[in-house]
Symmetry: C2
């Protein structure tokens, strides 16, 4: 089982060097100087690989489920390319997010902007990561009837993610704590825009387009997918926020820093919702303060308000709601008009199963 | 004459608030918090407007020339929207370029990242400026047969510009002067990729698509346009480099800083090409040094090698070469296959006439 998983990952990873070499090949063909080509390669290797690759691999998984069979080599390559497109987009955001958050490490190594000699050039490197997506899409999908839909969905989710980042950045600046700006409502907007669209809707929509599922003016399957995947992404992020507080670091694989970093987390927003004036004072005085004792006081308050039970309740509710949404798809697959491929419950179920009650 | 020009500009400018309000409308419709909407509006107003608008207005001019008549209101709006698309793209680059160059002012006001409270958030603001282009294109051009070509040409030129920026950034870092990295060859690559594609080819290609000029496998009109506009853009940038050194500040409207900023300018590359070992030593010791006396020594050396005559010679050569390229278009307009609209010499001539022997 673990072997199959590692193999799957390895196969997906084996596509990356091909894509990277196509990108570098373009620069070579245009006669770019050697040092520019080397720089771009380092940017690609450093920032696109090394993550969990869940988003990218979920494109391949979804195509397989939708087609209901093993993919041909050509189909696999195309699905993986779309998956890597999501990973490039993720890299575009991580490089800049780490700069804006002034983070220190990412994926167990220094953030790209902190690498010797990079600094603010990281901005242009992020631009190149995004530009790479459209270069690769054009090269491999230009003649497909769904090409323009691929571009649209990348654009739409990119703009949504930008907007999510904007709200997050002005709501929770690290150097200016103001809990009056927080609310569960704002938290929901942030996580949907900043995370859910690109991490959950985008991979599935790409898979659906590649399988030739058409849009429809009534019961559009893409709208249906979005209606399921956006709450799923929201649930994922709430869980992420909760685990940052609750999971033991040795299980989580990192030490949570949301409290110290003044993050607009589900935990603090839930606490704010139920805090007595005395508890609110504790939050105002200790949240976002760069001090372990202050963090401990916030954590104690979370326990005091029963955050664990509240989360367990949230998780059950979210799970049931999402199952309910998934079950609006007919067991035979959604009727999606002219296409041969039907939208299937399983696409969404595998996502949900991966997330439900995860510990890390 | 000056009045007609001002009127033309005013008409073009009158489209911006419409586009801005459509973008803000999207955020409102999605229920975004008030402070995020205000922030986005300030970003748009501060960074997209206030420039010379030459790139944007040249889309409208080109559409008018290609159609050979006054535009209807709807045509004008669409051409202007595409023109503003180029201006948004320009803003995307200026915001980040100013950060990477650590510039102080832009268009007579502090660079965006230096505005109180902005700082590194400017990165995400730049992302939003780029995302705005695709939001607007989708809203207004989605059903046009040439929509996908608009997306492709924006993507292509964006990636080219990113690559140009990369070479520029690693060839001429402000804090590490190394003239061995410079050459006229590299200068040419930088200016073509960093400037020519987005400033010259992009506006004309957008106009051509809007006029329905089709691609062709033989004598593709877009390739022809690129063959003229890329050298034109190169000439424009060489001139820009020369004027930075040679134009009186009261004419240029700013004080040139290329020497002090270690810019990979046509002037220094020309000097390097002909410098004796003694002259090379002067350049090595004084170029990119933050000191007025060092700058004066470089300027004296430029005069010594006869940079003015060399530039005059370059300009005559470039002018003649470009005229020659323009004249490969038949006087009746290029035969462009199935379309009704023909590519016309005048599209390129108005560009050339605006640039030839300009003083500022
Ligand atoms: Mg971060
Ligand atoms: Mg962040
Ligand atoms: Mg987290
Ligand atoms: Mg600059
Ligand atoms: Mg620069
Ligand atoms: Mg200049």
């Amino acid at each position: 089982m673990a072997d199959a998983k590692a193999q799957k990952r390895q196969k997906f990873e084996s596509i990356f060097p091909i894509l990277r070499d196509e990108l570098l090949g373009y620069l070579k063909q245009e006669g770019m100087p050697e040092d520019a080509i080397t720089w771009f390669q380092r940017n690609l290797d450093y920032n696109v690989t090394g993550g969990k690759l869940n988003r990218g691999m979920s494109v391949v998984d979804s195509v397989e489920i939708l087609k209901g069979r093993k993919l041909t080599d050509d189909e696999y390559f195309k699905a993986a390319l779309l998956g890597w497109g999501v990973e490039f987009l993720q890299a575009y955001y991580l490089v800049s997010d780490d700069m804006m958050d002034q983070s220190i490490t990412r994926r167990g190594q220094p953030c790209w902007y902190r690498v010797e000699g990079v600094n603010l050039l990281a901005i242009n490197d992020a631009y190149l990561l995004e530009g790479s997506i459209y270069y690769l899409l054009k090269k491999h999908f230009r003649s497909e009837p769904y090409y323009v839909y691929l571009l649209d969905v990348f654009h739409d989710t990119t703009f949504q993610t930008d907007i999510g980042q904007l709200i997050d950045l002005i709501t929770a600046p690290e150097d200016n704590v103001d809990l009056n700006k927080f609310s569960l409502d704002k938290h929901q907007k942030i996580v949907i825009f900043k995370t859910a669209y690109y991490s959950f809707y985008l991979p599935v929509a790409l898979a659906m387009y590649m399988c030739g599922i058409p849009h429809s003016s009534t019961n559009d399957p893409y709208e249906l997918a979005q209606k399921i995947l956006v709450p799923l992404g929201e649930y994922f992020q709430v869980q992420d926020d909760f685990l940052d507080f609750a999971a033991p670091p040795e299980v989580l694989g990192k030490v949570g820093t949301d409290i110290i970093d003044n993050k607009c987390s589900w935990c603090v927003n839930t606490a704010l919702e139920v805090a007595t004036p005395a508890q609110r004072k504790v939050l105002d005085e200790n949240y976002g303060v760069k001090d372990k004792a202050a963090e401990a006081r916030v954590k104690a308050l979370y326990e005091e308000i029963g955050i664990r039970e509240r989360y367990a309740e949230y998780e059950e509710g979210a799970y049931k709601r999402i199952i309910g949404l998934i079950e609006t798809i007919p067991t035979e697959g959604a009727d999606v008009g002219a296409g041969d491929v039907k939208l299937k419950r399983e696409v969404f179920k595998v996502f949900l199963d991966k997330i439900y009650k995860r510990q890390k």
